[in-house]
């Protein structure tokens, strides 16, 4: 700590070292507690996907034995995997939490949003999300975004100030020094908070394995009817299905990310256990998003553009 103290311990041999997972966990818990201490009305974005499941797990640990002092918010595209919605509702009930749902379908039905020609609904989430934040007056919104996901996200702060239109302005970001997070904001503004900023996909999986966290079944290999579109294996559902020229087949697959069914692709996999998934991720030569997300392929700056508009 002091410049003059001898650094006698090397690597993990040190009696007071922390493993990298313990260090990441400790940092994330610190972030949750900072928000609980400084904000009036925080909310956790919770989709039932692995990153938000890890966030909830960390929040439970951070405040135990007291309940999590945050509500949950899910932006439901209307095209979510049924297994994931089921998991979401069970998690909410199990921990006695309160869940707000912002529905893309309701916006479409009310004529406030228009379905895109390609049927992809992920970009449509921004309006229901930002309007829910404004109308429910959330001042801190936890997201499971990680900086390793995408190059625009590599520039994101842990505490990311958003203006009254929820916009992200990379040039207006506050420098973030030491672990001193500045959450001050004007009325109408809010702060997006990313406790998993410094985690990688592999860290998330290793942590899930270490903590024995239950996940929706679709993260593990199973046989499923899928069809191929734009190089991705998609599952048919209410959102649509195979068009002419696209054939459906049964394949052994799993999902690496979980989002809207219309733009989340499956990967061929025989990994039925956490250990097998970790082995597969460690050996993969594709990024999580590059492998399975259509919404990031819309343009080179797709993520950045959506973030600027208020998306996570």
């Amino acid at each position: 700590m002091t410049a003059t103290v001898a650094h006698v311990h090397e690597g993990t041999d040190a009696p007071y070292a922390l493993s990298h997972l313990d260090a990441l966990e400790s940092e994330a818990v610190h972030i949750f507690r900072e928000v609980a201490g400084e904000f009036e009305k925080p909310v956790i974005l919770f989709s039932g996907g692995k990153d938000s499941i890890v966030m909830l797990h960390l929040a439970l640990k951070a405040f135990a034995p007291a309940p999590v002092p945050f509500t949950l918010l899910h932006v439901d595209t209307g095209h979510n995997f049924p297994e994931v919605l089921d998991y979401r509702d069970r998690a909410v009930a199990k921990h006695g939490l309160r869940l707000h749902v912002a529905s893309v379908q309701e916006y479409i039905d009310a004529g406030k949003l228009r379905e895109r020609p390609d049927g992809v609904r992920n970009p449509l989430q921004t309006v229901p999300l930002t309007e829910a934040i404004q109308s429910l007056k959330f001042d801190a919104v936890f997201g499971g975004g990680r900086r390793d996901e995408e190059k625009a996200r590599a520039k994101e702060r842990v505490f990311s100030l958003r203006d009254e239109f929820s916009q992200w302005d990379p040039r207006r970001q506050r420098p973030e020094l030491w672990q001193l997070y500045n959450g001050r904001h004007a009325p109408g503004e809010h702060v997006r908070v990313f406790p998993l900023s410094n985690w990688t996909e592999l860290d998330v999986w290793q942590y899930i394995a270490r903590e024995k966290i239950e996940l929706p079944e679709i993260y593990f290999a199973h046989e499923r009817e899928v069809f191929q579109r734009n190089g991705m294996w998609l599952t048919a559902g209410e959102w649509g299905g195979a068009k002419e020229g696209e054939t459906t087949e049964t394949r052994l697959i799993r999902y690496r990310t979980v989002g809207d069914m219309s733009c989340t692709g499956a990967v061929d996999s025989d990994a039925t256990t956490l250990d097998a998934v970790i082995t597969e991720i460690a050996a993969s030569r594709l990024t999580e998003r590059g492998a399975t997300r259509a919404d990031d392929k819309l343009s080179e700056a797709a993520m950045e553009d959506r973030k600027r508009e208020g998306y996570f």
């Binding site: 040190a14 070292a17 610190h30 201490g37 135990a64 309940p67 001050r184 592999l202 030569r285």
Partner: protein
């Protein structure tokens, strides 16, 4: 470095190294970062394909590895660099978080940001130019932020015929300068980021060099500190009181141990009130433990039911810090709006935010030559200066030299919440003359 199951099986036991890079674009910093990511096989196929696609569309024959670190639309289109980006990679031995700090725009605040959490800083020098003003500036910032390890990467050795004498004289000049500033450990490595010499693979062109490659050094440099030597500091973040049927009387103080070790049974003092108690229990995220250490996030339970809230500091009674309302510190000004004498600000120190007023700005430092300018009246973006701040309530401060966590603070504009300055309590640079009689009792008084 292959991703085999055996190597990843025990990854959870590996340590984490946070490091920062400093260097102007011309020094080849982006290439070095790209090379580190690429040669450590941390760049995945789809990312590399994207770089190849863009490079090809610009008419380049080989993929421009610097593109791996070009994140934003504005950066690509206008060639500007926006603040710090964080990058992640891993080897079988260690996980890395790299604070990739742009060198040419607003460099001081960017490097301060990156260095604030870094265990190690890589300072890049162009072998053809040697130690220049900017190199001295980077060394000074690393010394000011008390980054424990500094690596001097003498780049573009391929352009000076891989001559040992060129490297040796640059390393000698830099080491003398940085040691004078109190940088505790300096490792000089001759490299060519473009050709890949000594970045990940040892260079066949410099057999006179017997030291580690950049990656080897990053993998083996010690990151843990002898925490038992530092007094414990526990800023209270949040009070946990479930008041439920199962836990009617639970009252825990949640926080992250900022330094040192805490043990059950230890006598503690709560600051600023000065009340005392004894640690009755430590809950480490669901597990009851007898001992916990920095930087663990834990919850403390005390024997006595005393008034403790967010912002208080719990420390061993045997070595608790003094409290003060007069903060003497060095600050790096990070905002576009200036900081003037008389300014009313907020000071955020650990979990405590209090009102404060800037009483004096005794001096401003020029990093290029470490000269001082007395009474500048105000500090503007990227200035580093001494300040005297009077706070509305007492703070339990440590010297930044003793604790980066409890010796640092932010100055915040109460009107719009802007982070104005990053502050470090106490002397600016480590003294290298501790064992000798100090001829100048003021030390580094700027």
């Amino acid at each position: 470095m292959t991703s085999t199951t055996e190597q990843f099986a025990d990854l959870s036991a590996t340590t984490l190294l946070r490091f920062a890079t400093a260097g102007s674009v011309d020094d080849g910093k982006s290439t070095l970062v790209g090379r580190l990511l690429h040669d450590s096989k941390s760049v995945l196929t789809d990312q590399l394909e994207a770089v190849e696609r863009v490079s090809a569309s610009r008419g380049q024959d080989t993929p421009d590895l610097a593109l791996l670190t070009d994140g934003l639309r504005a950066e690509r289109e206008q060639g500007i660099t926006i603040d710090v980006a964080y990058r992640y990679f891993a080897t079988a031995r260690r996980r890395f978080i790299l604070a990739d700090t742009p060198g040419h725009v607003q460099y001081t605040r960017n490097m301060v940001t990156g260095a604030s959490t870094a265990d190690l800083a890589v300072v890049l020098v162009d072998a053809r130019n040697g130690v220049i003003e900017q190199t001295r500036r980077h060394a000074a910032v690393a010394a000011l932020l008390r980054v424990p390890h500094v690596v001097l990467a003498v780049n573009k050795m391929d352009l000076v015929g891989y001559q040992e004498s060129v490297f040796a004289s640059i390393a000698e000049e830099f080491t003398a300068y940085a040691t004078g500033l109190g940088v505790p450990e300096i490792t000089a490595i001759p490299i060519s980021a473009l050709a890949g010499d000594n970045v990940v693979e040892p260079s066949a062109n410099m057999d006179w060099y017997g030291g580690p490659t950049v990656l080897e050094h990053l993998e083996t440099v010690p990151v843990s500190h002898d925490l038992t030597a530092c007094p414990a500091r526990f800023p209270v973040q949040y009070v946990i009181r479930p008041q439920t049927a199962e836990n009617p009387d639970y009252r825990g103080y949640a926080g992250q141990i900022a330094s040192g070790v805490l043990r059950v049974g230890e006598a503690v003092t709560v600051l600023p009130s000065g009340r005392t108690s004894v640690i009755e229990g430590i809950d480490a995220l669901g597990e009851s433990v007898d001992i916990a250490w920095a930087p663990q996030s834990v919850t403390l339970r005390l024997k006595d039911d005393i008034d403790i809230s967010r912002g208080d500091l719990i420390a061993p009674s045997s070595s608790s810090p003094a409290t003060t309302q007069d903060v003497v510190a060095t600050v790096c000004h990070v905002a576009d709006q200036p900081l003037a004498v008389g300014a009313r600000v907020l000071i955020k120190h650990t979990t405590r935010t209090v009102k404060a007023i800037v009483k004096e700005i005794p001096s401003r430092l020029t990093l290029d030559d470490l000269s001082q300018h007395p009474n500048p009246g105000q500090l503007v973006a990227n200035d580093i200066g001494r300040v005297v701040v009077r706070t509305a309530e007492p703070l339990a401060l440590d010297s930044y030299a003793d604790s980066r966590r409890t010796g640092s603070f932010l100055l915040i504009d109460p009107a719009d919440g802007t982070t104005l300055a990053a502050g470090m309590v106490g002397e600016s640079f480590a003294s290298t003359a501790e064992t000798t009689v100090q001829a100048d009792e003021e030390g580094w008084d700027f």
